[in-house]
């Protein structure tokens, strides 16, 4: 039975550290003139995206290719799911073609766990519902770790995640990853955009965190979706930006050590109303770059695992 990556919580603090350490090795590979290693030759990674996300899919597929794995893409729009085939039948059919890892994006919470129960292949959760997106949490913490050169953890680091927490798998996984490494995470949102029960520290507007003594070390802006207006969760985008957006006025007040992050794609003029290129602490492009190294680390961690039937542990190692 292969291992799988389904959530930060299941990975645990030691697992997060292991992946981030491995990501350092992968980042070095990516800096080479030929950023490709033969590590996963002969392995097949299949991305199955039941929800469109070209950037996440490309990031995973680039990661797999840099490790020399073969990649397959199951495009749902062209698939038999439109013909009424069940998720289980779809997965079992693809698995029968010989797949070592599934990268799953699904609009339903828990779908990757169901898939994991139906296949011996490794399963990587690339986002399920509003629930979990573990590689995002890993790449965000990896980005901060490299920016601050803090490989041993984030004790005392102050992180504020701003925006639509309720509907955000990014917020959940990124909070879990920062928390696992010892950071203090504050959620900044109106009550309408928070989950019904909240354990994190909460602020009701962004100025409360910016004006704290010492400011904030990481300001993480979430994407604000237009359709939330229709559900009476916020009155309008102008008011949202005024209360929660990174406006030029707020950007000018940021402490010099504050790092600014965003999972993309960004709604310019809504949650971020300044040009991020003009923010000294912006790590937004680094997040995208690091996404590949982190996903390489995850793929290698899962697929380099010993398969019991082929074990050579008795044999020589050099």
């Amino acid at each position: 039975m292969s291992r799988s990556l389904l959530s930060i919580e299941e990975l645990g603090t030691a697992g997060v550290q292991r992946i981030l350490d491995l990501a350092d090795t992968m980042a070095e590979v990516n800096r080479r003139p030929n950023p490709k290693v033969p590590a996963l030759r002969g392995k097949t990674v299949c991305s199955v995206f039941f929800e469109d996300s070209t950037r996440t899919r490309l990031s995973f597929e680039t990661a797999a290719k840099r490790l020399s794995a073969d990649t397959m893409t199951f495009a749902v729009s062209q698939s038999s799911l439109n013909k009424g085939e069940s998720l289980r039948d779809t997965i079992e059919t693809i698995a029968a073609m010989g797949v070592d890892a599934f990268v799953i994006r699904h609009k339903s919470t828990g779908a990757p766990w169901l898939v994991d129960g139906w296949t011996n292949a490794a399963v990587i959760n690339a986002g399920d519902g509003w629930h979990s997106h573990p590689t995002q949490g890993l790449l965000d913490t990896y980005t901060v770790r490299t920016a601050l050169n803090r490989p041993d953890g984030f004790d005392g680091l102050r992180v504020a995640i701003v925006g639509d927490i309720k509907h955000s798998r990014v917020a959940r996984s990124t909070t879990a990853a920062f928390t696992a490494l010892g950071a203090d995470v504050t959620w900044v949102a109106p009550r309408t955009l928070l989950p019904p029960v909240v354990h994190e520290h909460v602020e009701n507007d962004i100025d409360a965190v910016l004006d704290r003594d010492g400011g904030v070390d990481v300001l993480y802006m979430l994407r604000m979706q237009q359709e939330r207006m229709n559900e009476a969760l916020v009155p309008n985008l102008r008011e949202y930006t005024a209360r929660f957006g990174l406006t030029p006025e707020r950007a000018a007040r940021l402490a010099p050590h504050t790092l600014v992050m965003h999972p993309g794609p960004m709604n310019r003029g809504v949650e971020v109303a300044v040009d991020p290129a003009e923010l000294p602490g912006a790590l937004i492009t680094q997040q995208v770059t690091n996404g590949i190294a982190v996903r390489m680390a995850v793929l290698f961690d899962l697929l380099s695992a010993e398969s019991p039937e082929q074990s050579l542990t008795e044999g020589p190692t050099t």
């Binding site: 491995l22 980042a27 290693v37 590590a39 380099s304 010993e306 074990s311 020589p316 050099t318």
Partner: protein, 167 residues
């Protein structure tokens, strides 16, 4: 199986000194020569050879390489990179001396050669090992050897600055 000490710390030091001299002698002037230790056992030895060469009065770049991602036994046993590779400079046109503690099947050296190739095209690659214990499975031979040590295939050879132990 009882541990058997086959080299003392002094033996290791003498072997290192001799290998340093051989490297200097064979690569006149050390121009464009880089010592690259293979993770993990070759790294301290590359550092030791570098220090020895410096003591003799020459200077040399020292780097390290992790060949885990090039191994041919991934999926057959737990393989995990130990550290980020740092080849210590431009590989294109350089003469690389790969350094490892023990030469056994040759598979690690093969992986390291492949890894090296992804950094550029060296002018030449040489191989320095403290212990050659035989049992090669690939057509690889060392250029500098601290000690030839006949072993049986199921023995383990442990190399540190404190000496070499067979168990």
């Amino acid at each position: 199986m009882a541990d058997k000490r086959v080299l003392t710390p002094d033996d290791v030091r003498r072997a290192t000194t001799r290998m340093a001299h051989e490297i200097i002698e064979r690569n006149q002037g050390l121009d464009g020569v880089v010592l690259i230790g293979i993770q993990t056992g070759g790294v301290w030895l590359a550092d030791a050879l570098g220090s020895e060469i410096a003591r003799i009065g020459e200077s040399i770049h020292v780097g390290s390489i992790d060949a885990s991602l090039y191994r041919d036994d991934i999926g057959l046993r737990p393989v995990s990179p130990a550290a980020v590779s740092d080849v210590g400079g431009d590989v294109d046109g350089a003469t690389i001396v790969l350094v490892d503690d023990v030469l056994f099947t040759g598979r690690t050296v093969r992986a390291a050669l492949d890894a090296l190739g992804d950094y550029g095209r060296p002018k030449a690659v040489q191989l320095a090992v403290l212990v050659d214990r035989g049992h090669r499975e690939l057509p690889i031979r060392p250029d500098y050897v601290g000690k030839n040590l006949p072993t049986s295939g199921d023995e383990t050879v442990t190399v540190t600055v404190d000496g070499v132990v067979i168990s």
